[in-house]
Amino acid sequence: MSFKQGFNYGLAIGLGYLSVSFSFGIMAVNSGLTWWQTVLISIANLTSAGQVAGVGIMAASGGLVEMAVAQLIINLRYSLMAISLSQKTDSSMTLPARLVDSFFITDEIFGVASAQKSVGFKCMTGLAVLPVAGWTLGTLLGALLGNVLPSIVTSSLSIGIYGMFVAIVLPVCKKSKVITIISVLSVMMSVVFRYVPLLHEKVASGFAIIICAVISALIGVFITSDEEGEKEAVNG
């Protein structure tokens, strides 16, 4: 796949990112960040869930360790995608090329790239152009219009990113019993962290997410038999 082909494939992802990051921009400004801080976060990270958690940590003036551990756990899936994608790369994927292209590994870019027979530097970079542009521009628009639009509109738009998260998890739950069970467990634990006063005061939200996610994923590993594991892997 050439640069141009990759570039064209990136259009759909870029349009999707434009609207999701618009919602992120509004949410971040509503949490107390400035428009340029919000845009810098999007340029430096290119990830939705990690950025939402990161803004939460910033808004709560959280610690550096909390930030690092939260990003590590939330974005751990990119490590797996990187390993998987790495097996499809051709000879143009040299060390410098890998240093550049690894930045662009997101769920959607990985999804399109890994569907190709082989992935080269030009194709992967071309594929990333429009998603990066859409993610940055959408964040900027959301962050700026967040101050202009009436509060009823911005507050309604900032729920959009959570709607997207639901849309990622639920269809997979329909296919996998284990993922349904551990997602419900994760929500239940998260509810406990939110509503038990002592836990809510003492445990920072970034850490709470990590604890809920890791424990329920480990329970998932524990209740999965070997054959099921293979099936899950195919579906996931």
């Binding site: 430096a44 997207m164 551990i182 997602s183 480990l218």
Partner: protein
């Protein structure tokens, strides 16, 4: 938050996110054979998103009622298999309409 605190947190955030992607892309070229390790990696995205979304989604708008309307809409649309964009827009729209109704009732 002052600029120094912001840039320090941003640096830690950006560098961690980059290393998580870069290190395995540069170092690992073999498939993960251990099923349990692989299953853990498969599950993490979903448990993270679940914990992040609930109950936080209920506090993402001006009122719990409009947020709950958005959350229910998100669940229904996702269950029907609508794509991410449609679900995101539907969620916002439901929250917006209920917020409007609330405003109107207050007058």
């Amino acid at each position: 938050m002052d600029n120094k605190a912001f840039f320090t947190l941003l640096l830690v955030m950006g560098v961690t996110t980059y290393l998580v992607r870069m290190i395995p892309f540069v170092l690992f070229r073999k498939k993960i054979e251990n099923k349990k390790v692989k299953a853990f990696f498969d599950y993490i995205p979903y448990t993270v998103l679940s914990a992040m979304t609930f109950p936080e989604i209920l506090y993402s708008t001006d009122s719990i009622i409009s947020a709950a309307a958005g959350a229910v809409t998100a669940i229904i649309l996702s269950y029907k298999g609508k794509n991410l964009l449609v679900v995101a827009i539907g969620t916002c729209l439901a929250a917006f309409l209920v917020s409007l109704a609330e405003m109107w009732l207050k007058f």
